[in-house]
Structure formats: C-alpha cells, structure tokens
C-alpha cells in the first residue's frame, strides 16, 4: 500500500516536473530563443549583469597592466647589458 502511494507520488512529481520543464521550454522558446537576435542580446545582457554585480561585490579595481614582475629577478640581464657595451 505504502509503496503504491510512493509510486503514485513519484508519478505525480515526474508529471509535475515534466510539465514544468515543458512550460519553461515553451516560455524560453517564446522569449529568449525566439530568434538569433533575442538570444544574442539575452546572452550579452546576462554576462554584463554578472560582471557588474561581481564588480560591485568584490569592489574590483582596474589595476591597469602591471609590468612589474613579482616572481623573480632578472639579475642576469643588467650584467649582460653592461658587458655588451
């Protein structure tokens, strides 16, 4: 009896989820996936929103291009230069 109930609930759940995913698909097909332009603008808008929100959250600073090398010293270089002169 219990197992029947379970199966019944499972079936209900599957049906509910399936119809939800179909609904979602239909909504998407009518909006974002309507044509290539809507998809294009939606993708770019999504990415820009994520960048903007992330920029706010992490207080992102444009450091500009850093050309200081933080990893090692090119000790050998001035030496070579001087001896090449």
């Amino acid at each position: 009896m219990k197992s029947e109930n379970d199966t019944g609930e499972d079936m209900d759940r599957i049906e509910r989820e399936t119809s939800q995913s179909i609904k979602l698909q239909r909504v998407l097909r009518r909006t974002l996936l309507r044509n290539k332009h809507s998809l294009f603008f939606a993708t770019i808008a999504l990415v820009l929103c994520v960048v903007a929100v992330e920029g706010k959250l992490t207080d992102r600073q444009g450091r500009g291009a850093q050309f200081e090398n933080p990893f090692f010293d090119l000790e050998i270089a001035p030496d070579i230069r001087s001896s090449l002169r």
Partner: protein
C-alpha cells in the same frame, strides 16, 4: 559495422572532430606558425649578421660562456620572458581561427553537411574551444621547439666557425628546453584565462552575418563607451583592466601553474566564458 564500445567510439569521434579543425584550417593552424617562426628566426639572423664581426663574436662568446655552470631552471625564466612574445602570435592565430569557426561554414553552406552528421552542437563548439585552447598552443609550441632547435644548432655551428668556444652549450640547451616548456604552459593558461574572450568571439562568430571579428571588437568598444556616457561608470573597462596583466597567466614554475589555474579570477572568467559559449551553442539553431 559498429563494433566499437562507447568509450572508443567517443575517442574516435573526438579524433574526427579535432582532425577536421586541422584539415579545414591547415593554413592558419599549421602553416602560419611555421611561417611566423621561420620569419622570426631569419629576421633575427639577418639583424645579427648586420653587426660587425667582432661584435658578433663578442656576443656569441657571451651567450655561450654566460650560461656555463648555471642551473638551467635559474636561467629559464629569462628565456621564458623573452619567448612570451610568442603568446601574442598564439592569441592572434586563435582569435582569427575562432572568429571564422562558426561563420565560415554558414557562409559556404557546408553547415548543412556538418549538421547532417550525428554530432551535437555542444560537441561541435566544444571541439572549437579545445582547438583554440589546447591544439593551437600545442601545435605552435611544436613548431617553435623545432625552430629553436634548428636555431641553436645553426648558432652553435656559426660560432664554432668563428672560433668561439661553446662552453655553456649544454646549459643553454637545457635552459631552452625548460623555457619552451613554460612558454607552452603559459600559452595554455593564457588561453584558459582568455576563455571569456574565446566565448565572446565564438558568440559573434555564430551570430554575425559578416566580418564577425570586427563586430566582436566593435560591440565591446561601443558597450564600454555607452556605459561611460549613459551610466557614467566603467564596469566593463575596469573588469578588462583588472585581468590584463601578463603576470596573471605567465608561469615560471609548476607551483605558479596551480595558483594560476585555481585563482578566483580564472574560475570566474571560465564561468563567464561558459555562459558565452552556451550562447554560441544555442545560436547554432538559428544558423540556417
């Protein structure tokens, strides 16, 4: 006929997908690296031979003697930094490959042939990403390694003929190998770092009805201008500037590599790249 199990089937399919990219883009993927490396070597040789003979000899003596007794891994970063210019070539090749990758087949209408094969849009586009991120740096590095080897043999021979002693040849050679390895790894990491750009160019390649690369650059510049004018902010510029330092993807040791791969910015960039690549994948359904 289909006597292959699922695993080997997948490997076989991926072999087909990646070989397709090489065969279709032979000039960009194979000949362009050869030409670039060859021209760089010839140009270097020509400039060097313009020097007076004494200066040539002094330079070569310094080159070989300087490395004598040094540890290859200590010297390699110098060569790696010098060789990092090759990354620009790799990025250039990858960009022009990506820009045409989802555009050329629509234009010549071979799109209908490719789409009539049992390959999903996701696999198709993943194969383009793998080509840009792994194959292009890989092939370029192979060519660069071969070129470097020939160069070092040539220089050693020339030095020998000038009577320069080749004391540090062994160390120089070892340092070159190490440097080549790290340039290759840097190129791979740079392409991963550039995944948002990869996705951006792919999106335009799938979308634009002509000159996809121009559109990709133009729209980015226009968006950044528009943001400044309309909102008075610089989110886009800031984001790009914050990840434009070469020290964010150049590697000089294996520890560097793990740090680069797992950095927050790398992972966030990859997530953005994935969004754009998904957009490009969905765009294929409107390709007709």
């Amino acid at each position: 006929m289909d006597n292959l199990a699922a695993g080997p089937r997948t490997i076989r399919r991926w072999r087909g997908l990646l070989l397709r990219e090489i065969r279709e883009n032979r000039s960009l993927l194979l000949y362009a690296p050869c030409l670039l490396v060859l021209v760089a070597i010839l140009l270097g040789m020509r400039l060097f031979t313009l020097l007076p003979l004494e200066r040539q000899k002094a330079g070569l003596e310094l080159l070989f003697n300087r490395f004598e007794g040094l540890n290859a891994s200590d010297v390699a970063p110098l060569l790696t930094s010098a060789g990092a210019l090759n990354l620009l070539f790799i990025i250039g090749i990858a960009t022009s490959y990506l820009a045409s990758s989802l555009y050329a087949d629509r234009k010549e209408q071979s799109y209908f042939f490719w789409q009539s094969m049992p390959i999903s849009d996701r696999s198709t586009i993943l194969s383009k990403v793998v080509t840009a991120v792994v194959m292009i740096p890989g092939i370029y590095m192979g060519v660069l390694a071969a070129g470097s080897l020939m160069l070092i043999i040539g220089v050693a021979g020339y030095s020998f003929s000038l009577g320069v002693e080749l004391n540090g040849l062994q160390e120089l050679f070892a340092a070159m190998l190490v440097a080549l390895g790290f340039i290759g790894l840097s190129a791979f990491i740079a392409m991963l770092w550039l995944l948002p750009a990869v996705g951006w160019v792919l999106l335009f390649s799938a979308y634009a009805s002509r000159v996809p690369l121009l559109w990709a650059i133009g729209v980015l510049v226009a968006l950044s201008l528009l943001e400044e004018i309309v909102l008075g902010s610089n989110t886009i510029d800031t984001w790009i500037a914050s990840r434009s330092s070469p020290w964010q993807y150049l590697v000089f040791s294996f520890e560097d590599m793990a740090a680069r791969l797992l950095s927050y910015d790398m992972l966030f960039g990859a997530a953005l790249g994935a969004m754009l690549i998904t957009g490009a994948t969905l765009m294929r359904r409107f390709a007709d």
